[in-house]
Amino acid sequence: MKKLSIAFTILSVLLSDIMCAVVAYNYRDMLCGIKHSGYSAPAGTALLLAIPFIIGIIACISCGIVFYKKAEKK
């Protein structure tokens, strides 16, 4: 159980790292697109990409907490 909680914690950290990278990359891409290619959407739409990652992070953290508590009880 403790190993599972550690695995889920690592997953949530990884997800948050990738989320930051993906949002930053797409935000920069949007800014360039607005400047040079005439994108009509605001650069802030890149933040929408964070939604699935945030859901994943929340799910992983809650699973990690549950497994940690279960391991402590045992």
Partner: protein, 161 residues
């Protein structure tokens, strides 16, 4: 089945006569006969000797078969429920880890090879916010996995209480 019938069955199974059993237990043949006919009951100390001699529990000798059966069924039910909870937890872990791994891989591909990520999105027939249904499936897998894990853990806590 009552005690008298059980004693008779156990004796017959061992292939003993009333005389032989009486000698082994250190009682009279008449006592065995009375126990088997249900006219009298053996003393508690003799019951212990009988249970040890036939290698059966006191529960088996004293309790009726009906009162023993539900307990066996209950333990079987608990075992089945526990195995179900375990498989649910396993499925939940697999789903959420798979979903998270797919999200991470998609994120890495979209940064390192933007074209490939676009092609992945384009290959999907359904699009949400300009992205393919792939991301949606990842999120659904993670949520379903988390729900399965939380449910099975709640069931376990309920059993412990």
């Amino acid at each position: 089945m009552e005690l008298s019938e059980k004693l008779y069955t156990l004796r017959r199974k061992k292939g003993l006569s009333q005389e032989q059993l009486a000698q082994s237990l250190g009682v009279s043949r008449q006592a065995i006969s009375k126990w088997e006919s249900g006219q009298s009951l053996p003393e508690s100390s003799t019951l212990v000797v009988i249970s040890e001699y036939f290698n059966v529990s006191l529960d088996y000798l004293l309790k009726s078969k009906e009162s023993l059966e539900p307990k066996v069924q209950n333990t079987n039910d608990v075992k089945i429920e526990k195995s179900k909870d375990k498989s649910k937890t396993l499925l939940g872990v697999v789903l959420s880890v798979l979903g998270s791994a797919c999200l991470i891989i998609w994120g890495l591909i979209s940064i390192l090879n933007h074209e490939a990520a676009n092609r992945l999105s384009d290959s999907s027939t359904i699009h949400i916010d300009g992205n393919g249904i792939f991301l949606f499936f990842c999120v659904v897998a993670i949520i379903a996995g988390a729900i399965l894990i939380l449910k099975s853990v709640k069931n376990n806590q309920g059993d412990l209480k």
